[in-house]
Structures are given as structure tokens and as C-alpha cells.
Assembly symmetry: C3
């Protein structure tokens, strides 16, 4: 088994060396910023390993079960980090990481894909039908996701019955999960082409036996939990030391470390001029966050608190909301015109940078 | 004449039996919720009869006059109910019913059409050109319609010259009517294909003589007025008894009872895989509300009040406004990607349900 | 040289007679409204002359340098007027003229083009690919441009660190200029078809020698500076006399006089059924304003003030912002459906009129 593992070692795996460093640092009380940084670095290859083990299992189990595995484990690392953060009471960080993930996928990942793909291949064309259908689904998901926020902001100052926002958040989360289930059902029945929700990248899957894959999956998951605990434990000290807000960590940092490996794949396939696949990764990952991760977090948070009032709701601040709507509309436009170039990529990336600067200045 | 009438009796017509019940209930002071409910039920077949009589007249008068008849009488039942409500001073209910109609057409009707059409026929394709042109017209209409609201909300708290909002509402209503007139002119001159504004469904038209159709039209109209009076008279008692807001009745209930027959047609043709016609009904009905019903109500309300201040303006609350913009953008996306599936239908319906729940919680 | 000049005299050039009138009026203290009006009229042919001289130079210098000339001098007249206004401290007027230019191009110019083009040619079709790419770029530019405003409005009332908005505005302006540079680089390398940023209209260029063109350019520029000084000097008196706000002058009047000649070209080519070129002028001009004129003004204003606090920022009021977003989305829709008709043109024009009325009522 070690032999097969050794064969599939990639550059990213060397970052695993940061994991023992993080453990040592957290036990020996090294400076919080250092421990936080190595924990972040350690999470990158761990997330990648979960992804690889899932792909390896998907190859063995066939497309249907494989698709289901991908649909539930596709954002496993991010899900674990945020659940650990919820248990630690860092609700602002968790909520910010939901929007941050969607923004990162639609602006940074899509932007980098268009930029590097366009620089390599010039004007890139792709079939717009499939991308447009995914974009429409994403817009619908975001509209539903933003109802609690809009409800909250339009009524600020007025006296609402207690817990109304929490009930609406739970209702929206429930509808989301149902839609996600319907989406899975849809994509498992429609064999004609893959759905972004159950997308598998079998070419890249390592050739592991189901046993090897299972062990890697279990070990990587346990390690992600451990690294997340370390990371979350240092958040307060880090925000104090660096003058950053919990919100900023959540919206920029968490999404990047949870998805960096997947992001690189999107850029890679864009450079290979497979724009449809590249857009599917960015749009599909965003859909998973909106329809699956966000509602799961809402329900999980109910388990960690005595009162509904202190659970995770789906109220985002107005600036997040507008950024989200803008990102979704832009990606719908990009996906619907059937043609991309590096300039569009540079613009998407620029919008992400500008939003990042603004988020940096946003008061806690 | 009775013989021809009997031939064209459909299931929906049996609901007419609710009409005498509503009359009896209102005269004998039966419980308000019951009287309200039977008046609602009675309005469904009456609205259908007006529609059938209009179609029958359209067959006789030829496409031009027929198109005009449809364009003005297409939402006759809803127009009558809202005018009766304006006279009773229920301005909140009336305004809510304008947005509710548009939301219902774009989310519920379109959603049900895509859902049932997709379940029956799988992926449904349609020519995007025509639908996209209609969607563009609708976006323009909604932008114009929302100017008074945006103006009002961005200036809240500031001192505006008295009646500014009323003047702007009147101005917008005037421009709308002119655009509607231009739209009719356009669609009557362009014979190449039908316009959503003057759409006739002649296959479904009953074979009535013009005299029969005229009598049915007059009788049904009178009955709608009567049932509306009964319904409006009970609104206050019903909202008190059920704990619903006048706003909620307006945004969910009135649009449904005014249009349910037409809505069923949209779903029916979607199941028959005629997605273009189905989208045309949903988009066209929304366009009629925005460009014709809303401005007519603004002008009608001037006749029922001494002071401009208490007339109907076009200021919708922020939540309505955002729901409207979201619905219009979604329908534009759906119409522009040339392909639908049942999952999109489920999502549209889910967005409508989520909005409905939120509207339920919205304080009066 | 005078001979060649005489050959290329058009009707619009006779408006130059207003220039000496404006000078005389300003020296002899004629009524402010009259002086203001003739200065406005004089600026129309002067802006046109700068355009003609640029085109003439572009013919001689070849497409690359010519494209660059157009990209920088395409909005020269408006740039000069606004710089003079910044020096006079009329920041409200300048900011309003930025949004006003974009709104004017996307609603009034595009609307008039579709209206007259459609009346002449019926349903007009065009290749949607190119227009859609430009529209996507424009949406991205507007999203970036609106970040400072959204940041400001969502945080109103909260205590922000001093100058945060100014820093964000400068950051956004810097990113814009970089994107503009990248856009120029892109369009100069991609010879396959012209970019809206470097669009030249060589068929219309007068046949001037480089020397003649240079002299005309220098003289017209100097005259625009002079006329702008006169116009700006009278703004305060005019707003007082006519009861108009500085904001209204900026959002409606300045954009029209700075671009009227170019606007007429867009309508002209639409009537000749060249919808692609017509849309390119409207979209390209908007892109130039957003990506080049607006950031240049931000940096220029730094030179005219001692404190960052009184420099030009990019915070637009909420109503402007919503109008901008609506206009951009509409133009994206119109450009993406590949087909226009006069009714869409009438609707775009109507939206512009409605916004104009609302801007008129907007308190200073």
C-alpha cells in the first residue's frame, strides 16, 4: 500500500510537513500567528488528500455512488473547518466563509482560469447551453439564500416577533437541502452528461484500492479535524496580533485554504483549453456551498447551542450580499456569452481584489 | 343559446355554485372567513368566463380587434377586484396585488410549467429569441415601475417637497400607458408572430355567437363586481380573524384567484411541450400587469379620492422591490438560455414558497 | 489649409458662432443663463472638432497609434469640462456627470439608436458575440466602480477610520487605470476585430494633413478649456436662477453637450442598419468613462486640493447607483439577445426620461 501511495505523491503533499509543526506549535505554545500559519498550510494537502481518496473511491464504486460521494465530500475540508469554528462560537467567521467561498470560486478561480487560459489559448469558446443552465441554478440558489438577509435589512429598526429571522433561516435551509436532494436525483437519473453537483475527475484519481482509499480518507479527515481545532483555537490571538477582523479571516482566508487544490485544477484545465470543465468546477463548487454546505451548517449549529437565538442564521451583511449578487450575475453573463478572453479574467480578478480591499477596511 | 353554453361547460364552471353561497352568506351575515372563502372560489370561474367570452369575441372580430380585446380584458377580473378594493380604501392590498401578480406569474406559474413540463418531457428546448425579447421588455418595464420606490427609499428621512412621490408615480404611470399603447401598435402592425400583449388562444375559445359572448361577458363582469364587493367587504374581518396582514392577502391570494384559470393553461401547454407558448403566457401576463393594470389603477384611484395625497402611488416596500427584481432577472435568465428542465422549475417554485413565507412574517 | 478645412465643414460647425458670443457675454456680464446656454452650444462643435482631428490623425498614424489616440482623446471634451469643474470645486457636478454620461450612452443613445433604427429597418439583427463580450466588460467595470459607494452606504452611521473611503476610491481608480491599460494592450494585439476602446471611424475622418489636424486639435482643445471656464463660472448663478441643482446639471446637461456629436453618429449608423457599430459606440463610450475618465478625474482632483478629504471620491448616491446598475443590466440584456426593435428603443428612452424626471426632483 505504501508503494502505491508513494507513486501518487505530488508536490502539494510535501506541505504535509507543516502538520507536525502545527501540532508541536500548539502544544509548546509557539507564537499564535506562526501556529495559525502552519495549520493553514497543513490544511491544504489534507483537503487535497480527502479529494483524492474520494475520487479513488468514485472510480471503484461506479458513477452513481461516486457522484453521491463527490456531492457530499466535495467540500469536506471546508465543512469540517467551519463546523469546528461553529463549536468554538466563531459564527461571524463561519458566515463570512460561506460568502467568501462563493465569491472566491466565481471571481478568483474563474478569473484566474480565464486569465491564464486566455493568455495561453487566446479567445476561448465553449458550448454555452450547459454553463448557462448551471448559472441559472446558481442565481436561483443565491436568491433563495439571500431572502433572510433582505428580510432582516429591510426591517431593521422595526419590531419583529422574536426568532422570526431564525425561523426563516431554518425554513430556507430546509428548502435548500430539498433542492440539493432533487438536484442529486436529477443528475443521477440524467446520464446524458455530468452535473456540476456530482462531477468526478476520474482521470486525476490515484489508483488506490478501496481499502487504501478508505484509510487515507479516514486519516485525512481526522487530521483535518485536528488541524482545524488548532487553527480555530488561535483565531482570537491572530486577529488581535494582526489587527484583522474575524470577518476578514473568514471571507478571504478560510475559503482559500479549504479549496486551493481544487482551484488549481480549474485553472489547469482552462490552460488546457477545456473551458467547459473549468467553468463547471467554479460554478459547481459555488452551488455545493449554497445548496449543501450553508444549510448543513445551519442545522449543525442547532446541535451546539441551547437556544435558537445563538444558532447560525443566514443573515449576511449588506456589503457581502451585494458582492454575492454581483458575482453571481457576472458569472451568469460570462457563462452565457459562450466566449472568454484573458481581459475578462483580469477584470474578474480585479473585482475580487477590490472587494478584498473593501472587506479589509470593513469594521468588525 | 343555452345549448351552446352547455356544450362548453368545463369542470371549473361548477365552482360557480360558490357564487350564490357568497351572496347568501354576505346577506345573512355568515362568518366572514367563510363568506370570504366562497367569494374567492366564485371569482375563479367568473374570471375564466370573462376570458372565454373575450376569446370567443376575438375569433369573430379577427386578429386585430381580438388582440386589442385581449390586451385590455386579459386581466379584467383582477382589474375589477383591485378597483373595488381601491374604492374601499384598501391601498396596501392593491399595491401588494400588483407585485404579487408579477411574482406569481414569473415564479409560481413559470415554475410549475417548467416542473410539470420537465417531468413529462425531460429537457425542453425552445427558440430563445422571442422569449428573450419579451424578457428584455419586462426588465425595462420593471425598472421604470420601480423608480418611484427607489426614489422614495433612498430619500427616506429627508424632507421632500409635498406630493413629489405622487407626481413621480403619476408621471411613471403616464409613461407606462404610452409604452403600452406603443406596444399594442407594434404588435398589431407586426403580423409576423403574435405579441405577448395581444396573445389570443383561439383553439381554446368556445364557439359562441357574438351575442352569446357579449351577454356572457356582461353577466360575468357584473358578477365579478358583485363578488369583489363581497370579498373586499370581509377583508378587515378576515385579517383580524386569521391574523394575516392585508399585505399578505394582496400579495398571495388576490393574484391567485384572479388568474388561476390562465395559470393552468400555461402549465397545460408546458406539459404538451409547447414551452414558447407557456413562457409567453407568464411573461405576457406580467407585462400586462406592469404596463397596463398598474398605471390604470393609479389613474382610477385619482377618481375615488379628493386629495392626491391619498391616491394610489407606486411606492412598493423594499422587500417587494427586491423580490420583483430577482424574479424578473431569473425569468430573463431562464428565457435566455433556451432550455429548461424540471429542476429549474422546482427551484423557481421554491423561491416563490420562500418569498411567501417571508411575506407571511412581514409586519403590517 | 483653409481650403481643406472649408471642404469638411458640416452643419454642426455653424454652432461655433456661439463661441464668440459666450466670450463676449462673459466679459460684458450678460445674464448668466444666456452666457451659460451659449457656452453649452459652443462646446458641441468644439467637441466635434477634437473628434475629427483625432480621427484625421488616426488615419495618418495607422491603426495602433490611432487606436491609442482615440482611446485617450475619445472623451477629451468631457474630460476637460470636468477637470475645469473640479478646479472650481464643483465635485457634485463632476461626479454626477460620470454617471450621467454612462446613463446617457446606455439609455438615451442606445434607446434613440434602437428607436430610429427600428422604425427605418424593422426588426434588426446583429451578431451577439461581440456585443455580449463588451457588455460583460461593462458590467465588470460598473461593479468595480460601485464598490466605494456600496461600502459607504452600507456603513452609514458607523464610525469608519478617517479617509477610508478616499483610500478605497484611490485604490479602485488605480485598478481601473490598470484594467484600461490592459484593455488597450489587448485590443492593440488582437487585430482580428476592433475593440470598443480603440474604435476609429475612419470613413468619417476629414482628409487633413497631420499638421492641419494637429493645429485643429490644439486650437479646439484650447477653446474647450476657455468655454468650460465660462460655463463653470456661471454654474452657481444658473442653478440659483433656474432652481436646478448642481447635481441635475451634472447628470443631464454636461454629458449631453460633451458627447452630442458622437451620439448622433450612433443613431445615424443604426438607421443605416449597422447595429453592431451603433452598440459598440454606446458601450465603448460608457467603458471609456468608467475605466478611464472616472479614475483620471480622481487622480487629477488630488492635484487641486491640499487635503485628501476634499478630493474627488467615487461615492455616488444610492439612486444614481441603482440607475447605473439597471442601465448596465438592460444594455447587457439588449446586447445579448441579438435582436432589437423600435419598441425596445422607445422603452430605453422612456426609462431615461423617467430617471431624468426623478433626478429633477432629487433634493440637492
Amino acid at each position: 500500500m505504501l508503494k502505491t501511495l508513494r507513486k501518487s505523491i505530488k508536490l502539494v503533499h510535501y506541505l504535509l510537513l507543516a502538520f507536525p509543526l502545527a501540532i508541536a506549535g500548539s502544544l509548546l505554545d509557539w507564537p499564535p500567528v506562526f501556529v495559525f500559519a502552519v495549520a493553514c498550510v497543513a490544511l491544504i494537502p489534507l483537503a487535497e488528500l480527502i479529494g483524492e481518496a474520494t475520487e479513488a473511491l468514485a472510480v471503484v464504486t461506479g458513477p452513481k455512488i461516486g457522484g453521491l460521494l463527490n456531492a457530499t465530500l466535495g467540500n469536506a475540508a471546508e465543512l469540517i473547518i467551519t463546523i469546528v469554528a461553529i463549536r468554538a462560537g466563531l459564527l461571524d467567521l463561519v458566515k463570512a466563509s460561506i460568502t467568501g467561498s462563493i465569491l472566491g470560486n466565481l471571481l478568483l478561480v474563474m478569473g484566474a482560469s480565464l486569465l491564464f487560459g486566455g493568455l495561453k489559448n487566446g479567445r476561448q469558446r465553449f458550448s454555452r447551453e450547459h454553463a448557462a443552465t448551471n448559472a441559472t441554478m446558481l442565481v436561483l440558489a443565491i436568491v433563495a439564500l439571500s431572502v433572510p438577509s433582505i428580510f432582516n435589512h429591510t426591517l431593521e429598526g422595526e419590531t419583529l416577533p422574536a426568532l422570526t429571522i431564525e425561523y426563516i433561516s431554518l425554513g430556507v435551509a430546509g428548502v435548500m437541502i430539498v433542492l440539493y436532494g432533487l438536484g442529486l436525483f436529477y443528475s443521477l437519473r440524467v446520464s446524458e452528461h455530468e452535473s456540476p453537483l456530482t462531477h468526478t475527475d476520474q482521470a486525476a484519481a490515484p489508483h488506490w484500492s478501496p481499502r487504501t482509499a478508505g484509510i487515507v480518507l479516514a486519516a485525512a479527515t481526522a487530521a483535518v479535524v485536528w488541524a482545524s481545532e488548532i487553527l480555530v483555537h488561535e483565531v482570537e490571538a491572530v486577529t488581535a496580533a494582526l489587527g484583522l477582523s474575524e470577518f476578514f479571516l473568514g471571507i478571504i482566508l478560510i475559503p482559500i485554504i479549504g479549496n486551493v487544490a481544487e482551484h488549481l485544477v480549474a485553472v489547469e484545465v482552462a490552460v488546457k483549453n477545456q473551458m467547459e470543465l473549468s467553468l463547471e468546477i467554479a460554478l459547481g463548487s459555488s452551488l455545493q456551498i449554497a445548496l449543501f454546505v450553508a444549510p448543513v451548517l445551519v442545522f449543525v449549529s442547532l446541535g451546539f447551542t441551547q437556544s435558537l437565538e445563538h444558532s447560525l442564521n443566514l443573515v449576511f451583511n449588506q456589503f457581502e450580499l451585494l458582492a454575492l449578487v454581483a458575482a453571481v450575475l457576472i458569472s451568469a453573463l460570462v457563462a452565457s456569452d459562450g466566449e472568454t478572453n484573458w481581459l475578462e479574467g483580469a477584470q474578474l480578478t480585479a473585482v475580487y481584489l477590490i472587494l478584498g480591499v473593501a472587506f479589509f477596511f470593513l469594521p468588525a
